[in-house]
């Protein structure tokens, strides 16, 4: 979701960046080559950012919502989604508490996947 709102200029720079760095991948084994690639990548990233900023300014001046606006909106949506998820979990916990322990856990396969979040690991 989001972070994909690229203008034509952004896409051109990105494609150029991709082609150039693909070729540069071959010199990565040499430390000097590595340094040169790092600098080139940094330069390309900064250039791309600058173009995006200019694009953003132009769009804002024209009253069109830009990439940053979409990103901010996506962030807010993500926050709302998280809050809704937390509320749903809270409601579920309260409901199962009200139902009492005599009902026992439901039979069936346990859901596997990214729901389990890891605590602090040392």
């Amino acid at each position: 979701m989001a972070r994909s709102g690229k203008g034509i200029a952004g896409r051109i720079v990105e494609e150029g960046f991709r082609l150039a760095t693909k070729a540069a991948g071959k010199v990565m084994n040499d430390p000097r080559g590595q340094d040169a690639v790092a600098r080139a990548v940094g330069l390309a990233q900064r250039g791309k950012r600058r173009i995006e900023e200019l694009q953003e300014k132009a769009m804002r001046a024209a009253g069109i919502p830009g990439r940053q606006d979409y990103q901010e909106l996506s962030k807010q949506l993500a926050r709302i989604k998280r809050k809704a998820r937390e509320l749903a979990a809270q409601l579920e916990a309260e409901r199962s508490q009200e139902e009492g322990p005599e009902e026992g856990p439901e039979e069936g396969p346990e859901e596997r996947g990214p729901r389990g979040s890891g605590p602090v690991h040392h």
């Binding site: 972070r3 760095t21 991948g25 990565m28 430390p31 600098r39 990233q45 962030k75 990214p114 690991h121």
Partner: protein
Amino acid sequence: MRFASQEWIEAVVAALNAQPDLPRALAGLPRDAAFVVEADGRAFRRSVAVHAEQERGRVVRFRILPDEDDILELEPGYVIRAPYAVWKELLKGGDPVKAALSGRVRVEGDLEALVRRSGYRRLADAALAAVRTELP
């Protein structure tokens, strides 16, 4: 251990933290990063997003995000994402820097800093080699 499962990530983080050069590799990098293994057909049906934090050169916290979109709210210093097939290739010895430079691994964040640290790739390799990985 199943790739990208909670226990697999735990084991990789522990193996990574056991690398003596890790503080040097992480010095100067942002506090946190997110890694996304994107769903890839039947082989990997559901995307997995992990958020990890470092402090003083060690990975001190990580969690599998319930929703990939949580990354938008967290705004980590790096977001590194690739389809499962690409991660699989990297686990089998593919070069992550070249994969990032060619765009197969998509990196949001300061790529220059990562390229400069490409010599520390051996730390990740050693950590991954220490963990038995079952690929789907």
